[in-house]
């Protein structure tokens, strides 16, 4: 039973990490690309870290909460770094895709 839960968590983590990077690879401009890694990849890494916490809590005697620390840190820092990157991109006026421009700007 535990094996199945761990496998599902790990596969889910790998899948969401892949989806995040696929978004980074595929989407047309920077402001769209920002969505992939900052949301999907963080969720994927969080799932892998929780799987690791469950695995080490059950394979050894003591509860292992170190991984939760990394998860918490990532969940706090991902929005901050995304905000800063978006601000920097707006500051240096990164090119936008045509479909996301206002009518008046075109």
């Amino acid at each position: 039973m535990l094996d199945i839960i761990l496998s599902i968590l790990i596969m889910l983590g790998g899948f969401f990490t892949l989806v995040g990077s696929l978004g980074l690879f595929k989407l047309p401009d920077f402001y769209m690309r920002l969505h992939g890694p900052t949301k999907a990849s963080t969720l994927g890494v969080g799932a892998v870290l929780i799987a690791s916490a469950v695995y080490f809590s059950t394979s050894t005697d003591e509860v292992s909460l170190h991984e939760v620390l990394v998860t918490l840190f990532l969940f706090i820092t991902a929005p901050v770094s995304a905000h800063l990157m978006a601000k920097a991109a707006l500051h240096i006026r990164v090119r936008q895709d045509k479909r996301t421009l206002n009518k008046s700007d075109q």
Binding site: D3, I10, G14, G20, S52, S81
Partner: protein
């Protein structure tokens, strides 16, 4: 069962690393490269944690924590440099 899941996840995370490496090398603008670097370190954390489960060792967790801390600092510094032209004012 767990072994197979870990191997499949390894393949997925390595593919994710390759995709973000492409964006790091090809990205048309500088913020794209910063974002790709951010994604690279987040993916490498996932890879390290998976390796820790695979080898049944707690050692790799500390490396993952260090990478998380230093990677965030790097992203912060690069974005701040683009925003202000200076990191420490």
């Amino acid at each position: 069962m767990l072994e197979y899941a870990i191997i499949i996840a390894f393949v997925m995370v390595c593919a994710a690393l390759l995709l973000s490496l492409y964006r790091l090398l090809a990205g048309p603008d500088i913020p794209d490269r910063i974002l790709a670097l951010d994604t690279l370190y987040i993916n490498s954390i996932a890879l390290l944690i998976l390796l820790g489960i695979h080898l049944d060792s707690m050692l790799y967790y500390e490396a993952a924590l260090l990478i998380a801390l230093m990677g965030f600092m790097g992203t912060l510094a690069l974005s701040k440099y683009l925003l202000r032209g200076d990191i420490m004012e």
